[in-house]
Symmetry: C2
């Protein structure tokens, strides 16, 4: 059954397995988008970007589904959401704990390789606990 399941449609068996493991039904569009997303590592893309990429790869998906998928993947821990820009939302295929350069004027994100050491965080307001610490290094053309 497992094997048949993975063969029900022409999807990449690896991606099918990966989605199942994440608790997501391996639908055609999720598998296709997953393949595009994780083809190379450490990508930063917006819904718009991924949608265009899908078109060029002849994968028919509506923009709404791209949004849904991106959020589902994020919920499943396959992606990380990054907001630096106010306007658009970026999704990072690198889920590990790391920080970003944001290239102003280009609206482009780049992973910071290596750790940034962060000193003690002053105690958060009463009754609050730290969920995460995001560091964005804004860079510009020198």
């Amino acid at each position: 059954m497992d094997i048949d399941g993975a063969r029900n449609f022409d999807g990449d068996p690896d991606m099918v397995v990966r989605l199942r493991a994440a608790g997501l039904r391996p639908t055609r569009q999720r598998v296709e988008l997953g393949k595009l997303l994780f083809a190379c590592a450490d990508r930063h893309l917006t819904a718009e970007t991924l949608h265009e990429e899908a078109e060029q790869a002849n994968v028919r998906v509506s923009l709404a589904t791209v949004y849904n998928t991106l959020h589902q993947f994020t919920g499943a821990g396959l992606l990380r959401e990054v907001s630096v820009d106010g306007a658009r939302t970026y999704f990072d295929t690198n889920v590990s704990d790391h920080h970003h350069y944001f290239v102003e004027d280009e609206n482009r994100l780049i992973d910071v390789e290596g750790k940034i050491r962060i000193g003690a965080i002053p105690a958060p307001p009463e009754g609050m606990e730290v969920a995460s610490v995001d560091v964005v290094v804004r860079v510009r053309r020198a």
Copy 2:
């Protein structure tokens, strides 16, 4: 002339001076918005918020003008723009170098009092220079 200038309309002379110093023409709406903005220190507000505040203070300004003013103030170094949320844009009346707590589920910003020590930043990509480093500590109700 300077004094007359500051008396041309019923605006707060201090704010008039402050705007002039920043290279901005002290129009009625800029003076009024400036007074609201800087009435108390270290505020974080959105265009919408400030617009409502203006209404309640019986200051007639259009939302478009609020946006314009916020951006002009930011350009003049009177405000700082903070994006953490993806949706809205916050303006911080505290222009000094500091970081923020972002209260998830409440969409509220709080200044981090005191410094956060940040270790060396790995060299940015070729031909790029660091413009600023933003740290956002996401907190949630414990």
